[in-house]
C-alpha cells in the first residue's frame, strides 16, 4: 500500500461571525493518500474531540462533488490544487509527506464567516430569488416536445447549468465578484426559448441584487474560470454583459399600471 503521510495544517478558527479569528496549527498524522481531503479533516477532528478540543467546523454534504456545499481555500486556491475538483473530491494523493496546508474560508463581504471555515452563502439564493428562474407554475404546460431546442443551445445551456453554486468563483476572484455565478444562471435560462420572455428583466434584477449583496466587479482576471470545479466559462460573463446592455438600452420605465389584473 502507498505510504502514509504527516502534514501540518494551518486552519482559520473563528468562533462566530462577530468574533475575530486566527490561524491555529494542527498536525495531521498518518494520513492515507486514499483519503479524501475531508476525510483527512474528519480524522483530525476525531483527534481533537479525543483531546477535548472543539472540532473544526467546515461545510460539506454530498461528498461527491455535486451539492456545492464544501468550501474552503486550500493553500490559496478554492477547492485546492486540482483543477475542476471540489474539496470533497480532492484526495490526499495530491499532497506530499511533510506538506504544510493553509485552510481559509471563502473571503467576501457577500459571504460572511459563520464559524471556522463555514460561511453564509444565502446571498446566492437571494440573487436567484431576484430573477434566476422561469415563471412556469406547476400545472399542465404544453408537451415537452412542442418546443424543439437546437442541440447546440441545449448543450450550451447545460454547460452553464452545471454550476453548483459553491462560490469558488467569488472566493478566487481578486475582486470577490460573483459574476461567473450570476452569468451562468443568465446563460442557462437565456439560451433556452422558455427563458426568452423574462430574459431582460432577469438580467437587470439579478445584477441589481448581486450589487446589493456587495459582491465586487469583474475585471476579467479569469481566476473564477480557473477555480470553477465545474468548468463554467467566462464566455458567460460576456453574454451577461451583452444581455445587460441590451436590456438597459431597451428598458421602459414602469408606468404603474402594468401589474393590475382589474
Amino acid at each position: 500500500m502507498s505510504k502514509h503521510m504527516n502534514l501540518t495544517l494551518h486552519v482559520w478558527r473563528q468562533k462566530n461571525a462577530k468574533c475575530d479569528g486566527k490561524f491555529v496549527e494542527y498536525p495531521a498524522a498518518n494520513i492515507s493518500p486514499d483519503m479524501s481531503f475531508l476525510e483527512m479533516l474528519d480524522v483530525v477532528n476525531e483527534g481533537l474531540i479525543e483531546k477535548g478540543e472543539e472540532p473544526i467546523e467546515f461545510d460539506h454534504d454530498c461528498r461527491e462533488g455535486i451539492c456545492g456545499t464544501c468550501s474552503m481555500v486550500i493553500n490559496g486556491r478554492p477547492h485546492g490544487p486540482r483543477e475542476r475538483t471540489t474539496t470533497c473530491q480532492l484526495h490526499m494523493r495530491s499532497f506530499k509527506d511533510g506538506d504544510s496546508i493553509t485552510l481559509e474560508p471563502w473571503r467576501a463581504e457577500g459571504f460572511p464567516v459563520l464559524r471556522d471555515l463555514t460561511v453564509d452563502r444565502s446571498s446566492f439564493d437571494r440573487i436567484i430569488a431576484a430573477g434566476g428562474f422561469i415563471t412556469a407554475p406547476a400545472g399542465t404546460p404544453q408537451d415537452a416536445n412542442a418546443l424543439p431546442i437546437p442541440k447546440e443551445n441545449a448543450d450550451l445551456s447545460m454547460d452553464a447549468a452545471a454550476c453548483i453554486g459553491c462560490g469558488a468563483c467569488v472566493a478566487a476572484c481578486p475582486n470577490a465578484s460573483a459574476m461567473l455565478f450570476v452569468s451562468a444562471k443568465i446563460s442557462h435560462l437565456g439560451l433556452l426559448p422558455q427563458g426568452q420572455p423574462e430574459r431582460h428583466i432577469r438580467v437587470r434584477d439579478m445584477i441589481a441584487q448581486m450589487d446589493a449583496e456587495q459582491f465586487g466587479t469583474c475585471t476579467n482576471h479569469g481566476e473564477c474560470e480557473a477555480a470553477c470545479p465545474k468548468g463554467i466559462k467566462m464566455e458567460n460573463i460576456a453574454r451577461m454583459n451583452r444581455d445587460f446592455i441590451k436590456a438597459s438600452l431597451t428598458y421602459r420605465p414602469a408606468t404603474g399600471g402594468g401589474g393590475g389584473v382589474g
Binding site: M1, S32, E53, D61, C62, E64, I66, G132
Partner: protein, 639 residues
C-alpha cells in the same frame, strides 16, 4: 391504531382523475390564511413548497443545508422515467405502472404506482417549462435512453446530472416564491420534533443550526419531504447530512412506519478503501448499459492485473445467470450477485470486496470518443477518486446502500396516520415496494411535489377552518419545545469519551453485517441484541463538545445518531418478521434453489405498518394487505 389507505374506487386508470374532482377546494381568498410547513427542499420538498405557494398558501420551508439547492436529490445521476412513448417502442402509462409494480416485487400499492406513472409525462413537460436543459437530439427533440432494467427507452436525462438539473428547476421555482414573499425559507434549520395538538399535526420544533436557537413553527399542515434514512448504515451513497430524525420524531409522535426494512443496495459504487471512509460514491447505473461485469473464475486470479486474466478465465456472471437482461438486471439482483461472487472469494481489489465493470468491449465496439461522450464525466470522477483510468483498467465496483423504499406510512393522499402530517418523496414508503427501479426516485419526488401534494394538501386544508392554528403558549407546543431543549442539553451533558461518529460507525457495521444485502434470523436477532447495547453506551459515553447555542456539527450529528440507533432497531425487527425474500429484502432462509428471492405471497403480500408504543415498549406490527388487480402476482424473472 386505525389506518385506511383511502384508495378511491373505480377502475385504476380513472382513480386519480376522479379523486381530483372529488377533493374539496379552498376559496382563493382564504388560501393566504393557511400556513403550511414543508420540511426538506429536495425534489419533493422544493417542488411541493413552490407549488403550494403558487396556489396561494403561505409556506415555511426548512432544510438543514445552507441552501435549498443542495438537497441530496442533486446527486441523482442517471435520469427520470416518464411514459411519453417518444420512441414509439411500446411504452405507455400502463407499461410504466406494470414495470414499477413488478420491479418493486409486488410490495407497492397499485393505485399509488398507477398515479405515479400517470403524472410522469406531466413532470417532463413541467420541467422543460421551468428550463431544465434535458439532453436533446439534433432535431431539437428530447433524447431518451433505456435505464435500470427497463426494456423501453423512457428515461430523460441531462448528462450525468439529471438530479441536479431537476432540483435546480424546482429550486428556481421555490426561490421565485421566496422573492414574492409566499415562501419563507429557513435554511440551516433542522426539524427536531413534530408538534401534535389534539392528535393533529400543527407544527414543528426546529433548531437554527447557526445560532443554536430552538424555535417553534406552527402551521395548518406539516409536510415531511426529508428523504431516506440510508445513513443508518453509516456508509451509504447519501449525503453526510441525510438523516432520519424528522420521520423518526414523527413516528414517535404517532405516524406509522411502513416497511422499514426495505433498503436498496445499489450495485455500482466505488469500493471502500479503509476505515477512514466517510461515504460511498455511486457510479451511475447507466454505466451498465455498456460496461460488462465480471470477476475471475478462479480465486487465485484475483490478485492478478485484470489485463492478465484471459477471456476464458473471466466469469461474466450477470450475463451467465440472466441471459435476457444480462448486465442490466435490476439493482437488487445485481447487488446480490456481486456479494455472492465476493463471498465465494472471487472479489477483486485490496479489500476483496469488488467486481470489475469493464468497458474494453464498448471501447472496441463504439470507439473511445463515443464512450467518452457518453460517460466521460463519470470516468473522470472515478479516476479522481481511485487514481485508476477506466479507459485502460476496468472499474472496480461494489454495492452500497443507496435508497430506502421504506418510510412513513401514507394513504393515497400521502397523509400519514397523524392527520395533517403529509409525507412525500423518499421519506414515505409508498411507490417502490421492495425495490426501486432506476430513474424512478426523481419521478416520484417530483410527482409528489408538483402534482400530488398540492392537490391533497389543499383538500385537507379545505376541511379545517382558517385561523385555527394553536398559539405558541399551547401546552403541547411548550412541551415539544421543552423536550427538544432537554434532549440537546442531555447530549451536551454526557461528556463521555467517544465521538458521535464512533457510535455511528459502530451502528453502521451492525446494520451492514446483519441487515444488509442478505439477512437471516440469527443475524437479525444478534443485531437486535447489539443495537440496544450500543444505544445504552451512546447515552452514557458520547462526547459532544461546545455549546448548544452555536454552530455545532457534533451536536447535530449526535442528535441524528441517537435517532438512527432507534430506527436501526426497528429495521432489524421488520426484517426479522418479514419471513420471505422480496426485492431488496433478501432473507437467506427464503430463496429458490438457484439462489433467487422467494416471495411468500400467501403470508406477506402486505405492507408492514409499525406503530410506536412508547419508550421501552415493543412496537406493534399491523398490516395493510395489498391487492393486485391489474398486475398479476408473478415471480420476477430476469433470466
Amino acid at each position: 391504531m386505525e389506518f385506511n389507505a383511502r384508495i378511491p374506487d373505480g377502475p385504476i386508470e380513472k382513480k386519480w382523475e376522479k379523486h381530483k374532482f372529488e377533493m374539496k377546494l379552498v376559496n382563493p381568498a382564504n388560501k393566504r390564511k393557511y400556513r403550511v410547513i414543508m420540511v426538506g427542499s429536495g425534489l419533493a420538498g422544493g417542488a411541493g413548497a413552490a407549488s403550494l405557494a403558487e396556489l396561494g398558501y403561505n409556506v415555511d420551508c426548512f432544510c438543514y443545508q445552507d441552501s435549498p439547492r443542495r438537497a441530496h436529490s442533486i446527486a441523482a445521476q442517471g435520469g427520470i422515467n416518464a411514459a411519453k412513448n417518444y420512441r414509439n417502442d411500446g411504452d405507455s402509462v400502463f407499461r410504466l405502472f406494470y414495470d414499477t409494480v413488478k420491479g418493486g416485487d409486488f410490495r407497492a400499492r397499485e393505485a399509488n404506482v398507477y398515479r405515479l406513472a400517470e403524472v410522469s409525462a406531466d413532470i417532463i413537460d413541467q420541467c422543460v417549462a421551468n428550463g431544465v436543459p434535458f439532453a436533446r437530439e439534433y432535431g431539437g427533440l428530447l433524447d431518451n435512453r433505456s435505464f435500470g432494467g427497463a426494456q423501453v427507452s423512457r428515461t430523460f436525462y441531462a448528462r450525468g446530472q439529471t438530479g441536479q438539473q431537476l432540483l435546480i428547476g424546482a429550486y428556481q421555482a421555490l426561490e421565485r416564491q421566496v422573492g414574492l414573499g409566499t415562501v419563507t425559507m429557513h435554511s440551516r434549520h433542522e426539524m427536531l420534533e413534530l408538534i401534535v395538538v389534539d392528535g393533529v399535526a400543527k407544527g414543528i420544533v426546529a433548531r437554527d443550526m447557526v445560532t443554536g436557537k430552538i424555535e417553534t413553527h406552527l402551521a395548518d399542515a406539516v409536510i415531511l419531504a426529508t428523504g431516506g434514512y440510508g445513513n443508518v448504515f453509516y456508509l451509504s451513497t447519501n449525503a453526510m447530512g441525510c438523516n432520519g430524525t424528522a420521520i423518526w420524531r414523527a413516528h414517535k409522535k404517532g405516524a406509522a412506519f411502513g416497511n422499514p426494512c426495505f433498503t436498496q443496495i445499489h450495485p455500482t459504487c466505488i469500493p471502500v478503501t479503509g476505515d477512514h471512509q466517510s461515504k460511498l460514491t455511486l457510479m451511475s447505473e447507466s454505466l451498465r448499459n455498456d460496461g460488462r461485469v465480471w470477476v475471475p473464475k478462479k480465486k487465485e486470479d484475483c490478485a492478478k492485473h485484470p489485463k492478465d486474466i484471459k477471456e476464458e478465465d473471466r466469469d461474466y456472471y450477470l450475463e451467465r445467470k440472466y441471459p435476457s437482461f444480462g448486465n442490466l438486471c435490476p439493482r437488487d439482483i445485481a447487488s446480490r450477485a456481486a456479494k455472492q461472487v465476493c463471498d465465494e472469494g472471487r472479489g477483486v481489489g485490496a479489500s476483496g470486496r469488488g467486481v470489475y465493470l469493464d468497458f474494453s468491449d464498448a471501447i472496441q465496439r463504439l470507439g473511445k470518443a463515443k464512450v467518452e461522450e457518453k460517460y466521460g464525466n463519470l470516468f473522470e470522477m472515478y479516476e479522481r477518486i481511485t487514481d485508476d483510468n477506466p479507459y485502460e483498467v476496468p472499474m472496480r465496483i461494489y454495492p452500497a446502500v443507496h435508497y430506502t423504499m421504506g418510510g412513513l406510512w401514507v394513504d393515497y393522499n400521502l397523509q400519514s396516520t397523524i392527520p395533517g402530517l403529509f409525507v412525500g418523496g423518499e421519506a414515505n414508503f409508498s411507490d417502490h415496494g421492495a425495490n426501486r427501479l432506476g430513474a424512478s426516485a426523481l419521478m416520484q419526488g417530483l410527482a409528489d411535489g408538483y402534482f400530488v401534494l398540492p392537490a391533497t394538501v389543499s383538500n385537507y386544508l379545505a376541511g379545517i377552518k382558517p385561523g385555527t392554528r394553536p398559539t405558541a403558549d399551547h401546552p403541547a407546543v411548550k412541551e415539544a419545545e421543552a423536550n427538544v431543549k432537554a434532549r440537546m442539553e442531555k447530549l451536551l451533558s454526557i461528556k463521555g469519551t467517544k465521538s458521535p461518529t464512533h457510535f455511528h460507525r459502530e451502528l453502521g457495521k451492525i446494520m451492514w453485517e446483519y441487515c444488509g444485502m442478505a439477512r437471516n434470523e440469527a443475524g437479525l436477532k444478534k443485531a437486535l441484541e447489539l443495537i440496544p447495547k450500543l444505544r445504552e453506551e451512546f447515552w452514557k459515553d458520547v462526547r459532544v463538545l461546545g455549546e448548544g447555542e452555536s454552530l455545532n456539527q457534533s451536536l447535530e450529528l449526535a442528535a441524528r445518531v441517537a435517532d438512527f440507533l432507534e430506527l436501526g432497531e426497528l429495521m432489524c425487527l421488520d426484517a426479522l418478521q418479514r419471513r420471505e425474500s422480496c426485492g431488496g429484502h433478501f432473507r437467506e432462509e427464503f430463496q429458490t434453489e438457484e439462489g433467487e428471492a422467494l416471495r411468500d405471497d400467501e403470508n406477506f403480500c402486505h405492507v408492514a405498518v409499525w406503530e410506536y408504543k412508547g419508550e421501552g415498549q415493543a412496537p406493534e406490527r399491523h398490516i395493510e394487505p395489498l391487492a393486485f388487480e391489474n398486475v398479476h402476482l408473478a415471480t420476477r424473472s430476469y433470466k
